[in-house]
């Protein structure tokens, strides 16, 4: 039968040549005696392309090992280098990138064989030494040295689950090591089973290999047979013999463990069928083959020979003759899909990167996510199937697998491997400290937040050094101390730093290697920073079975959550304050002032034995001061991601970040039962938008910014020394975020959220809004400005409904007026009208309420009057009309019989109003402004808001003068301002008068620093003034100076009136209100009727102007704001 073996590809110089396939089967790497590593394309089409050459080594490359993301190579002088395989080793050649990523080991003897554990955590290296070296791939630290072989070790191999390691020595001894324990122990020794070979001879070494389903170890034995040793029982289950006539030097399992390929010194390449236990094929080479490997995803074999040539054997297994293919068919079915995916997604790769990036503490998580990623790519399907095979394969194996413990780097975590999905129990919950990193080059961050960082430096067996570095050097000086406890976690707050040791079970800390296990006692220790108390440090020992899982510290105290499910609360001084039981599923906890945020794994979390998991979280927000529960509920994360950071913003917003880079804040936590998580930033999207491959390591949130360490060059954790922090602006993931509207919406939304939080927090702690009331007013105004911009955009785009929706979100009445004005300016008259009506309902209730407790400080008003009268322009006073309709409604309506029916309750105001209307008569003829203000002073006082003050003051002065019986003389001087600017309320309606409206732009600049509530009050008050005065002008007998423009205005009103005449009874009633003011003066009852709709339309325009005038006035005068007292 013909064999599809390619012509030799002379990859290397003559000599021993190593070979390995990439996990996806796309590439095959060879290393040879010219100290080069070459990477070839494996697929038929691309096979002839030029190889990528890596020139890292300086001596013969003897061994190669490839995992999902790493390639390791060892050479004859004992150097083991690692290479990072680019994002998607699966995808086409373009994306192939193999970058040297460091030296794994320098030994003095040739690195003979390398095996990478699952999850790329560790690597076992056999040198011609008597020991096997286990090196962590995370930090290249030497973890273990497995001693026991008598004679140089020439082969190592991890079991696929990394529980066992098999090693073989030149003396023919095969040892199996249990890697679950901190000190891996040899669980089985097979003496004199394998070949006895001469150390140092490259060609005459042999390899032992674990089958990829984990059931057997294949060992080339001294009788030129391959023996399969069964896992668990360690009995020889099968022996394949008869084909090789000389020493078998290398063997390889196919990815589905159905076939073995072996090469020997007899120059034969033999394919064995495991199930049939016989050889099915053999191929005689021209020179001695060195290594052979199966393509994991294809019916393809590649082998090298001692001439440095590589051969590829396509379609090895004669599938057409009824043999099963050497790989899982399912895998190839997925294969196309896989490739699509891989090509589609460098984004996907970035995702993987991120999710990897944030797995800082949890080894198992790392492993799981790695595996999961593989599964995502379909790359690892065969592995899944293998697991199923195991289940089908035999009870004893399931048993063997049932309760093993992985401990692949001495981290000491426990995972019960259960078939299929299962609900997770306590031990699986992996807790972490926000802001901590694993060990990198003997250093790690224990804590990293806005206060500073805590760095632990591994020194020797007995102690570490801890450095506390502060950002603000003026508050604390940096602290260094020698740490004999070997603290594994720290929580830093402004007032102190809490340290804790913990059981090895809960932390991935290599520096704890060798620590005693049985009776380890955890210690918590607090270091206070306050200088006044002499001995603010304290230490507690926990009971022997109780270990801290996570700790938190704030200025109000510290919290330790232990493995017993206890939440222990201490004061900063070390007094034990509270103890509480929690479900033993705590993931992390953080504290801010009196709040403690505890994240738990929810009961819905499930994990499979394939490492897949679906994590769900819950949170509990506690108050430290009274131990009450502020909020609790589910804590959402993006699908198949996990929480990697939790914290509080500087303002106290609880926040979490998941491994997909989405930042969420807990909103409305101050309202019982209303808390909800709001995503405020998708940091991974941000990184993508920036077009850089960077990852953000969360540190804190502050003032609408996400403070991160930007990790570049595939690094996962912040480097040493402490890097400069980057600030990412919060960007709420609203739709169409790239458009102007979307941006504005997102900005408004985030502003609102943070504003509400500040208000809520102030309310909760009965404290003050940061920056005081003026800051609050300013922030409120800022939000309204943003809505106004949105309203404008909506108007421009003719989206009137949207504009109205937006306008309804406006908080300040003043801003609402501006919205109306914008509508008018954008010639959306129907919108403007609608908004006018909206305004009634929206602000009416406020007004009524405020009417009752509004008051005015007469004296102050008088004082201000003198200075403000000058500013009192007609424009300013007159624009307060609409609010008068609602605001004044109650007090004024009492005089008109028809509206009394609507407002029967205000009897006490009648007298006052009667008095007022008397005033009206007196000062009638344009000075109605003063009169209505009088009404205001009597029944309800407007607070001295600048704009309002003007009118109110006029009223005040009018009143006093009336008492003197000299009102005309005194009032007149206040008149000129009203007449100085001829007022045309409808000017703004006509396009030609657009200039007037343009001034509304000043709103954004001029209006500032007003208390929102006050401004509402004031505008209502002042508008009342305008309303009456305007009604009187048309009658305009008394004041000749101002009647002319008003008449014009009135004409326009009448022209316009038709459109709004269909107002309801309410409007009529309101219109009637106006009548009372001049009713007594001129008795012009007929005016009420025709004024009905007109007033409304007038006011629509007026308000806009009043607003700008108002704001301008406020700015000019800088009037002190104060709430005045109710006189009645």
């Amino acid at each position: 039968m013909s064999k599809a073996i390619t012509a030799p590809r002379y990859a290397h110089a003559e000599g021993y040549t190593a070979i390995a396939f990439a996990r996806g089967g796309q590439f095959v790497c060879t290393g040879g005696s010219d100290s080069l590593i070459r990477v070839f394309h494996a697929s038929k089409a691309e096979r002839d392309q030029e190889a990528v050459t890596l020139e890292q080594h300086s001596d013969n490359v003897l061994s190669l090992a490839i995992s999902k993301s790493k390639m390791l190579s060892g050479d004859e002088e004992g150097m083991v280098f690692s290479f990072d395989i680019g994002a998607s080793p699966l995808s086409s050649s373009e994306s192939l990138s193999i970058e040297p990523s460091g030296t794994v080991l320098r030994s003095t003897l040739p690195a003979r064989d390398i095996s990478i554990s699952s999850g790329d955590k560790q690597v076992a290296i056999a040198t011609d030494d008597e020991e096997v070296r286990i090196v962590s791939l995370l930090d290249m630290a030497l973890l273990h040295t497995l001693a026991g072989h008598r004679g140089s070790v020439n082969s190592v191999c991890y079991s696929p689950d990394s529980i066992y390691l098999v090693s073989a020595g030149c003396d023919g001894t095969v040892r199996v090591w249990d890697m679950r324990h901190r000190d891996p122990s040899c669980v089985h020794i097979m003496h004199k089973l394998a070949y006895v070979c001469e150390p140092g001879n490259n060609m005459e070494q042999f390899k032992v290999r674990w089958s990829l389903d984990g059931r057997f170890i294949a060992i080339p034995c001294s009788d030129h047979s391959i023996k399969l040793v069964e896992r668990g029982s360690w009995e020889i289950a099968a022996s394949f013999a008869g084909t090789h006539s000389k020493m078998i030097t290398y063997l390889a399992w196919s990815s589905n463990s159905k076939y073995i390929a072996s090469v020997g010194l007899d120059k034969n390449v033999v394919i064995w069928d495991v199930a049939a236990r016989k050889s099915i094929l053999s191929h005689l080479c021209s020179s001695t083959p060195c290594q052979v490997e199966w393509n994991p995803c294809n019916n393809m074999l590649a082998f090298t020979d001692s001439t440095g040539a590589m051969y590829v054997w396509d379609d090895v297994v004669p599938v057409e003759q009824g043999h099963a293919p050497p790989f899982e068919l399912k895998a190839t079915e997925h294969g196309t899909l896989v490739r699509d995916k891989a090509q589609a997604g460098s984004a996907g790769a970035a995702n993987e990167l991120m999710s990897d990036l944030f797995d800082d503490t949890a080894d198992i998580n790392n492993m799981d996510s790695d595996r999961m990623d593989e599964d995502d790519n379909g790359e690892n399907d065969q592995e899944d199937d293998e697991d199923e095979d195991i289940e089908d394969g035999g009870e004893e194996i399931v048993d063997a697998l049932d309760d093993f413990v992985i401990d692949d780097d001495g981290a000491g975590y426990v995972e019960r491997q259960v078939p299929k999905w299962a609900v997770v129990g306590d031990p699986q919950t992996q807790s972490f400290q926000p802001g901590s990193t694993p060990w990198i080059n003997n250093r790690r961050y224990l804590a990293f937040n806005m206060v500073g960082s805590v760095i632990s430096i591994a020194q020797d067996e007995s102690h570490n050094t801890v450095e506390i570095e502060f950002y603000d050097k003026s508050v604390h000086r940096d602290i260094h101390f020698s740490d004999s406890f070997k603290f594994a976690m720290a929580a830093l707050s402004e007032s102190g730093c809490l340290f804790a040791t913990t059981s090895r079970e809960f932390v991935n800390d290599q520096s704890l290697r060798g620590a005693t296990n049985a009776d380890e006692v955890s210690v918590i220790s607090y270091r206070g920073f306050s200088s006044w108390s002499s001995n603010s440090d304290w230490v507690f020992k926990l009971p022997s079975k109780e270990h801290p899982r996570c700790i938190a510290a704030s200025t109000h105290g510290v919290v330790v959550i232990t493995s017993q499910g206890f939440l222990r609360m201490f004061t900063c001084g070390g007094a034990q304050r509270h103890i509480q039981s929690l479900p033993n599923r705590v993931v992390t906890c953080v504290a801010y002032r009196d709040m403690v945020l505890i994240i738990l794994e929810a009961a819905g979390t499930i994990r499979s034995n394939h490492g897949q998991k679906r994590l769900e979280y819950e949170y509990i927000l506690l108050s430290m001061d009274d131990q009450s529960q502020l909020a609790t509920g589910y804590c959402p994360v993006a699908p198949s991601s996990e929480i990697v950071w939790a914290g509080f913003s500087e303002e106290g917003h609880p926040a979490i970040c998941d491994s997909k880079g989405i930042l969420r804040v807990l909103h409305n936590y101050w309202k019982v039962g209303n808390a909800s998580w709001v995503p405020i930033l998708d940091s991974r999207k941000l990184a993508q938008d920036r077009g850089r491959r960077e990852a953000f390591w969360p540190v804190a949130i502050s003032a609408k910014q996400f403070i991160v360490v930007t990790c570049r060059n595939k690094k996962r954790f912040p480097p040493f020394p402490k890097p400069i922090l980057d600030e990412l602006d919060v960007e709420i993931p609203l739709l169409h975020g790239d458009t102007q509207v979307g941006q504005q919406e997102a900005k408004y939304f985030s502003d609102r959220i943070f504003y509400e939080q500040l208000c809520g927090e102030a309310e909760r702690t009965s404290g003050e809004y940061p920056g005081g009331g003026s800051a609050q007013a300013r922030d409120e105004l800022e939000q309204d400005k943003m809505i106004l911009r949105l309203v404008q955009l909506a108007c421009k785009a003719d989206k009137t409904q949207r504009a109205m929706d937006l306008a309804l979100m406006i908080k300040l009445e003043k801003s609402f007026d501006a919205a109306i004005k914008i509508a008018v300016f954008q010639k959306q008259s129907s919108l403007a009208e609608r908004l006018m009506r909206m305004k009634e309902t929206k602000f009416a209730s406020d007004m009524d309420y405020e009417d009752e407790d509004e008051d005015k400080d007469e004296d102050e008003d008088k004082r201000n009057a003198a200075s403000n009268v000058r500013d009192l322009s007609g424009l300013k006073t007159r624009h307060r009309q609409p609010a008068a309709m609602y605001g004044r409604k109650r007090s004024n309506s009492n005089t008109t019989s028809d509206s009394n029916a609507d407002e029967p309750s205000d009897i006490d105001n009648v007298e006052v109003n009667g008095y007022d209307s008397g005033k009206d008569v007196v000062s009638d003829g344009g000075n109605a402004a003063a009169n209505v203000s009088r009404g205001g002073t009597a029944s309800s006082r407007p607070p001295p808001m600048p704009g309002a003050l003007h009118t109110a003051n006029v009223g005040g002065s009018a009143f006093s003068s009336t008492n003197n019986g000299d009102q005309d003389l005194v009032v007149r001087p206040t008149r000129p301002p009203t007449t100085s600017k001829p007022f045309n309320p409808f000017g703004v309606v006509s396009p030609s008068k657009s200039m007037e409206i343009k001034r509304s732009d000043s709103f954004f600049n001029a209006v500032d620093l007003h208390s929102s509530k006050l401004s509402q009050d004031s505008s209502s008050e002042s508008i009342a003034v305008v309303a009456t005065s305007k009604r009187q002008q048309p009658e305009g007998e008394a004041d000749g100076t101002s009647t002319e423009p008003r008449k014009q205005a009135r004409k326009r009103v009448e022209g316009k009136g038709g459109s709004t005449s269909a107002n309801g009874a309410k409007d009529r009633a309101q219109a009637n209100l106006f009548s009372f003011a001049f009713k007594k003066g001129d008795g012009g009852k007929n005016n009420i009727d025709d004024g009905n709709g007109k007033i409304n339309s007038t006011s629509a325009v007026d308000i806009g102007d009043s607003l700008s005038a108002d704001g301008g006035a406020g700015d000019d005068n800088g009037m002190p704001l104060s709430v005045s007292q109710n006189e009645e």
Partner: protein, 218 residues
């Protein structure tokens, strides 16, 4: 005036450095401080570890007293400069975009805050290379010197300063010669007109103004 004629025409390096000190740069303060009211405006407040923009002179001053870390500007990174260098090296390439005071800023940062600049040695070397490439380009520009104008975009202050004395005189001389030549021709009056126009629109005093300290200081 005790300034040499050479100095009158251009600035000395310290003078340029002085001008560059008004450029703003980000720092990470190490001490909490309130706003600082400076003549040029307010800076701060300083709230570690958040970045703040301050004038370079203040950054250097704070750095000297160890009160801040200076955040190296994004262009002052090895990758960025290397990219620029490669682009400059391409034949017929224009000047790459760099801040007007890049040399001065880089010099000051590398002297006073070397620990805050990553790869400072490599950057020093690159800057030297970059400067040389650009220098050779400006020198090639001399060949194109003509009486009307010579465009060299993205030239930094120090580089302009370097060529100023020579260029100024050459321009002057060329212009005079050109005027003489056209006058000698005496034929094409509009050419003369053009020249006069040019004279009016771009008197040299104005050109000088463009490089005067006042414009740097805004």
């Amino acid at each position: 005036m005790a300034i040499s004629s050479r100095q009158q025409e251009g600035f000395t390096m310290p003078e340029l450095e002085y001008m560059a000190q008004c450029e703003s740069i980000a720092i990470v303060p190490l001490y909490r401080m309130d706003r600082l009211e400076l003549v040029r405006g307010t800076v701060g407040p300083f709230r570690p570890p958040q970045k703040t923009e301050v004038p370079l002179w203040l950054a250097v001053m704070l750095k000297r007293t160890n009160r801040c870390r200076i955040v190296a500007p994004s262009w002052l990174s090895y990758e960025h400069l290397y990219k620029l260098y490669k682009r400059e090296e391409e034949p017929d390439s224009l000047f790459t975009k760099l801040p007007q005071h890049y040399l001065e800023i880089a010099y000051m940062l590398l002297t006073h805050a070397e620990d805050d600049v990553e790869d400072s040695q490599a950057i020093r070397r690159l800057l030297q290379d970059l400067r040389e490439v650009r220098q050779s380009k400006t020198q090639r520009g001399f060949e194109m010197l003509n009486p009307t104008q010579l465009q060299m975009d993205n030239l930094s202050a120090a580089e302009i300063n370097e060529i100023r004395p020579l260029f100024r005189h050459s321009f002057d001389m060329l212009r005079q010669l050109d005027a003489l030549a056209s006058a000698a021709d005496g034929t094409q009056s509009h050419q003369l007109q053009q020249l006069q126009q040019y004279d009016d629109s771009q008197p040299y005093s104005e050109l000088d103004d463009a490089f005067s300290p006042s414009s740097y200081l805004r």
